[in-house]
Structure formats: C-alpha cells, structure tokens
Symmetry: C2
Subunit: 251 residues, 2 copies
DNA sequence: CGTCATCTTGAGGAGTGTCAATAACTGTGG
DNA sequence: CCACAGTTATTGACACTCCTCAAGATGACG
C-alpha cells in the first residue's frame, strides 16, 4: 500500500491530507485498472463506489431514447468521476461511464466516503470546489450550445483541450477519436467534420488528428474568451503541473 | 432580530442549525428587499455577499455578445443565488441577477461565510447538496437542448414549474412572462409561442398564462421522464412543504 | 491486399432564428 | 368608462444551420 501514497498525493482531492489520512483511505479502497472500452458502470446500476481517475480518460454518457449515446463529459486524470452522486446520495447511477483508453482508478466504497470525508481536512472543501467547477463548465456548455455555431463550438473545445492537457500552444494531436469529440459537443459526426474545415478561415487547420493554430488573432476573435483560460477554481489550479506526476504513479 | 429566526428555520440551508447558530448568522447578515426589475448584481461586479432567496424569484442571466441577455436559471424562495461563487472563491460575478418580482433576500458577507460555514453543523453538506442539484439540473438542460424539440423542451419546463411550485397538477398560471420563460429555455419568443400551440396535440393547452393538462397519458409520452419528478436531492426534499412557511415569514 | 472502423463529402429536409407586421393585454389619466 | 401608450404576445414569410441518409475515401492492421 505504501507505493500508492504518492499516487494519492498527486491527486488534488487528497493532496492536502496527512500521511495517516491517506493511509486510512488506501486501506479502505482499491486501485483498479479499466481497459479501453470497458464500462465502469451503467445508467441504473447501484452506486457502490466513488471513483477518482489516476490515469487515462473516461467517457461519461447517457443513452438517448433513439438508441444513440450522448457524451456529457470526458474526464481525465485527477478528476472525480461521480462526486455529484456521492454528495446527493443517489442510489443509482444517472449516467454510464466507459474507459476511453486504459485507465487506473481509485475506487472507494460510497459508504466509507460518506462517513469519513467530512472528517478529513480539506476533502469536503475540495469536493465542493470540484462540483462548482463542473457546474461552471456545464453552464458554459449551455451558453455555447445555445449561442454559438457548430464551428465556434468546435474551436472552443480545441482550446479547452489545449488547456486541459497543457498541450503545445501551436500544435497537438487530438487525444480522442473525432466521433467521440463530436458526441461530446452534442453534434453529429458529419457536422463536426464540416466544422473543422470551416476553422481554416479562423486560423485553425486540422489534418487528420493534427491540430495547428496558425493565426491566434483570428482564432481569438472567433472563440469564446472563457475557453482560452483555465476555468478551474483555486483548489484545482495546480492540477496541470500534477498531471505528469499522476500519470507516472498511477499504474 | 428575533423575528427572523423563523425565516431562517424555513430555509433548507439553515433549517438544521441551532438557535444560537442562526442567531449568529442573523447578527452578521441583513434581510434586504429587492423590488421587481432591480439588478442585484451584474457580471463583473465584485462578489461581496452570499444571497439566499426568502421570497420572490430572481433571474440569473448573462449578456450575449449580440446584445441580448440569456437566462441561465430562475431561482425561487429557498434557493441560494450564488453558492457556486462562494465555494470557488471567485472575485467577480460571472453572471447577473435581477429580481423577477418583489423579493426578500438574506444577504451574508462572503468573508463571514467562508470563515464560518464549515463550523456549522450541516451547512457545508447542504451547500454541497444544493450544488449537486444545480449541476444535475444543468446536465438535464444540456440533454434537453441537444436531443429534444422546442415543443418537448417547453412541455418539460411546464412540468418542472408544476413540481417546483407545487401547483395544481391539472391547471395553473405561468408565474413569469412568456418572454422570460423562452429566454430560460434558450429559444426565441416566437419559437416558444409556436411550441405552446403544438402542445395541444400532446395534451397540454395554453391560453394566455393559463396552462391546463388535458391528457396526462399523451403528455407523459412526449416529455422527458426526469421532469415529472422532483430532482432535488434528499436534503431538499422537504422544501415543497416549506415554501409557504418561507413566503409567510420572509417579509 | 482485403477487412474493418473511422472519417469525409454530397444532397435533401426538418427545425429554429430572424425580421416585420399585427394583435392582445396592462396600466394611466382624462 | 373609455382612450391612449407601452409592453408583451402572436402570426407569417424567409433564410440558414444542422441533422439525416447515403455513398465514397482514408487509414490501421492482419
């Protein structure tokens, strides 16, 4: 168990805990691996555990009435998967979660979390902060959906990816398939494809999975200003520097 | 100050506090009135206070680049106005808030809240629960925006109003102007108007501000099932019974 | 080289936003 | 009680965006 102490230290949620507190958590949890494509849980399943991503990315989605699946979010290392369900004491999962690539997850029983997270130094505050950040993101998504074109939405998402992964500001590779991104943006694959073409006029050229920003001036005029900066709240600001540490340890 | 003890007791956020705790809160806060149409705060203003609605309704909105304003939410008695900003320690308001009708608000300095809410029995948990509920609502909104027609959206919102205000299940009057509701639903006034006409085919007839449900079977097949039940989390389930108490005392 | 998954491109149509004109409602003052 | 102005709501016509279906292209991998 000792070897996972550094894993926990690298997760924002547990970073401020004492050695003893994290040891207590580790003795009541497991680190599981979830290989690419595997369902972690499905809509309607009983909520048994609270999960935090140590490595990899998870797609959170719901099944639409017409048989498709719509992606609500794509979470990465450091993110809590179901903090909202923990807090609102939901008995059943409202969404489904699937591994986008090979993942490591910290798995803590819900009952244990409910009894103990209030006693740990900053965990309640961190959970609050994480929820507030998620809410803020959701509100921005709503704003984007209702006021911006598909192309603007796509451009904003590319910006967000750049910030989230701390990518090279000029060029990077899409970390997910285009279909997944389109689904995340609540649009059809075809519309996303056409949108990427349209971005050429606004300083972003996309060939294959390679995204490159050619003219930041044009781009900045086209996207929403909220997406060029990190909208994480204070407690999560250090996350970028931590990502590498997290990935290094979470195996 | 004594007379406001019952006002606080009626607000879910403070209902579980002791007499002494609420006395402490009252001695560090004010109850202000905000008449219809008045701006409580604007986007960009410094965040100085945490607000809870005792009576009336507040429109939370943002200004769109093209000069209009888009409504994010309409909050009513018992709701916290800016719990997210409190928790994420934002220095400036991300949205604006305006009174839809004459309101009473509990106004607590942010600094005091930050220092003390962790010490009160259940307040941190209540704030968490409230945020989780808001997040869940936002996610449902996204789902609705991207998968349902304008008419379905409108029908769902009518259902939600019925639940939120605990209205007669068969007939009620819209509590806001149609323009405001349309804005809340992220659609044009005209589209909302046409949607209401279309609802006749699905068991809902709207004439003027009067909404009546004629055929629940048809309606239930048309709307999303999440909107017919309260999606508040446990801590807020008692709210319906409390609303009258709140209104009675919050003057 | 074939197979499978993913992505692109084209054509057509449903749904919603926009503009403009008209109608209904609200409150005020004569 | 009625006339008036101001707000709010409805209705029509039109354009545009995005979804859908269908076909073809590209790429990864055995």
């Amino acid at each position: 168990m000792r070897k996972f102490q550094s894993t926990l230290k690298a997760l924002p949620l547990f970073a401020d805990n004492t050695f003893e507190e994290n040891a207590l958590i580790l003795s009541n949890s497991r680190i599981i691996s979830c290989h690419s494509g595997k369902l972690l849980f499905s809509h309607g399943d009983k909520v048994t555990h609270f999960y935090v991503i140590c490595r990899g990315a998870m797609q959170i989605f719901r099944d639409t009435p017409d048989g498709y699946e719509a992606t609500c979010n794509i979470l990465i290392s450091g993110d809590s998967v179901n903090a909202d369900e923990l807090v609102s004491c939901q008995a059943k999962h409202a969404m489904s979660a699937r591994a986008v690539n090979d993942c490591s997850l910290l798995e803590i029983p819900i009952s244990w979390m409910l009894e103990n997270f209030n006693n740990m130094n900053n965990m309640a505050a961190k959970l609050l902060a994480g929820l507030a950040a998620q809410l803020s993101n959701a509100q921005v998504d709503i704003e984007h959906l209702s006021t911006m074109s598909a192309a603007q939405n796509a451009a904003c998402y590319l910006q967000k990816l750049r910030v989230q992964y701390n990518f090279d500001p000029l060029e990077f590779e899409l970390p997910y398939t285009k279909s997944l991104i389109a689904s995340r943006l609540q649009m059809g694959r075809e519309t996303f494809s056409r949108s990427l073409l349209a971005l050429k006029d606004h300083g972003i050229s996309v060939t294959g999975a390679r995204v490159s920003f050619k003219d930041m001036h044009k781009t900045r005029r086209f996207v929403c200003d909220k997406c060029s900066v990190s909208n994480q709240c204070k407690a999560y600001q250090d996350l970028h520097q931590d990502r590498e540490k997290i990935s290094a340890h979470g195996t």
